[in-house]
Amino acid sequence: MPGRRIVVQPVLQTIPLVLDGPAVRTSAGDDVSVTMLRCYLGPLTLHFTDGTTYHDPAAAHLLDLEEANSWIIDLPQAPAKPVAAVAFSVGIDSAASTGGAQGGPLDPALGMYWAWQSGYINAKIEGHSPSRPASVRRAFAFHIGGYARPYATRRPVRLPLPTPSPAATLTLLADADKWLGAAPLAQTPDVQVPGAAAAAQADRVAAMFRWPAAAAATPSARARR
């Protein structure tokens, strides 16, 4: 296939993240089992080593743990030049959130649009934490959105490759530990409205995305230099 492919791999630290999988311990010490993970990425931009860029024509990409294919983003028109960095936003821009009913990946039927306070939900994670004592609430749910300042939740992400890569497929990680492991769930088990708490959570959502350590020096990249 011509063009480029970006694969996003959902993990928790180093363990592949699976829906309703066995509980995994976060950096904050909570054992968590994830029952839902959905996240909007805006259109991607590839930055090449020669200073040129390629802009993904898609309106958005909805990554959904229930749909394995949603984590594969094909860019058939992208040139085969070495990529220096990949940039995208985590979340939907305010024009779409204020522009009424949208279609395609932004169709409100996908369940990522708030009814009572208009705007997209940029990311959702839900699950339970069986390690917590039975006397406390074990479920957690974060629905992060809101486009109005000062609590806008869309975050720009720019990921320079440690070594520029001409590979057809580039693989990113989405590490849920950066979101769920940032603070103990006992502190905040639930955020489902726009506001200061959502804006703080949005930083963690964006922090999930990174290159795997191995990408620092892929053989093909080294050979080309």
Partner: protein, 365 residues
């Protein structure tokens, strides 16, 4: 046919729409229809270039509006809470009730002149007309459904697929976006501009005011119009008009959306068009009669930090003045709007199939 519809669109665009019907003349082929723009009104806020009104789109929106199949158990339609005869609100219910008799939180709003609203709902939480419909469809106390399930049900109906094809350039695919856009095509056309008051300000036949009504209008302009601004009878601002907080069902209003203490107990100023028919009144439906509303403004104002400055002192209106003011408010009843057959139940049009035999398989492309 193409040329004819273009000609019709042109002819419609050059028509003076004043006195025309609310969607403008509907072309027989279901093609473009203009939104009515009454003389002296501001421009609508609804961006119809995003969702161009067509006869077929409006017809589809109307069918959906009256179809209880949008609710989870097939019992509640939009019209259950928005009845034409009562100005498209839920008559006699302080707070609306939906599926399985569940009680909602607020009094149903009258659906009127929605194309001019900058925001929707009592707290302004909704920013566009077409995304508003997500609320009733998904609210557990209203239709308790999901938009995805509505799309699925509609897709199984051959009649609806045909209607979607007519409304969306020959494409019969049902999507969430299209369901919402079609509903907005119908609701944005619910324009009330033919009341006796409108005829009075336009100096038209049937617009004669009695001395009492004239005095009522003067009192209205002096006491009420700073918020209930003509000609839409709202300035769409959020105000605290002195209602005491209901401790049983506290509702912070606008503050729930903005998170600002200054917005506490502020609600959107509602239009007063067809006010004679839209009882009960206020966001929680606490007043049953206009008399109770005037008693509130003259003798029942509750002081609080966010109370509107105009209402810090009770309004001074003698019993006779209150009668005159009420007489004026009754001139806002728009009988043409309340009985307009184009807004009514569409009758035996396409509805969700209740007979399983009538459900068509989804064609594979």
């Amino acid at each position: 046919m193409r040329a004819a519809s273009r000609w019709l669109a042109l002819a419609a665009a050059s028509l003076t729409l004043l006195g025309a019907v609310a969607f403008g003349p509907a072309p027989a082929d279901g093609g473009p229809v203009p939104l009515v723009q009454p003389a002296g009104w501001p421009r609508p806020t609804y961006d119809a270039t995003r969702n161009p009104l067509t006869g077929a789109g409006v017809a589809l929106g109307r069918a959906l509006f009256y179809d209880p199949g949008l609710s989870r158990d097939g019992t509640i339609s939009c019209a259950s809470c928005h009845l034409q005869a009562t100005g498209f609100t839920h008559v006699d219910h302080a707070v609306s009730h939906g599926i399985e008799g569940r009680l909602g939180r607020r009094n149903s709003l009258a659906l009127v002149n929605l194309a001019w609203n900058p925001t929707f709902h009592w707290d302004g939480g909704v920013n566009q007309l077409d995304v508003q419909a997500l609320n009733p469809i998904t609210n557990a106390a209203e239709m308790d459904n999901t938009l995805a399930a509505v799309v699925g049900t509609l897709t199984r109906s051959r009649a609806y697929r045909g209607q979607f094809a007519r409304a969306f350039r020959g494409d019969s695919v049902v999507t969430g976006q299209r369901v919402l856009l079609a509903l907005a095509q119908f609701t944005s056309g619910l324009v009330s501009y033919r009341s006796r008051y409108d005829k009075y300000v336009r100096h038209e036949a049937g617009g004669e005011f009695s001395a009492q009504e004239l005095n009522g209008l003067a009192l209205f302009r002096a006491n009420c119009a700073s918020c209930h601004r003509e000609p839409l009878f709202t300035d769409y601002s959020f105000q605290n008009n002195g209602l005491a907080l209901d401790s049983q069902a506290p509702d912070a209003g606008r503050a729930a959306i903005t998170g600002r203490a200054a917005d506490s107990l502020r609600f959107r100023v509602p239009s007063l068009r067809n006010i004679e028919r839209t009882a009960p009144y206020m966001h929680d439906g606490r007043f049953r009669r206009l008399r109770d509303v005037l008693h509130h403004y003259t003798a029942g104002l509750h002081q609080s930090a966010t109370l509107a400055p105009q209402l810090r002192a009770p309004l001074r209106l003698s019993p006779d003045e209150q009668k005159d003011l009420t007489a004026f408010l009754l001139t806002l009843t728009d009988h043409d709007f309340l009985t307009d057959s184009r807004f009514a139940y569409p009758g035996a049009g396409p509805a969700f199939p209740t007979d399983p035999a009538a459900i068509q398989p989804i064609p594979t492309p």
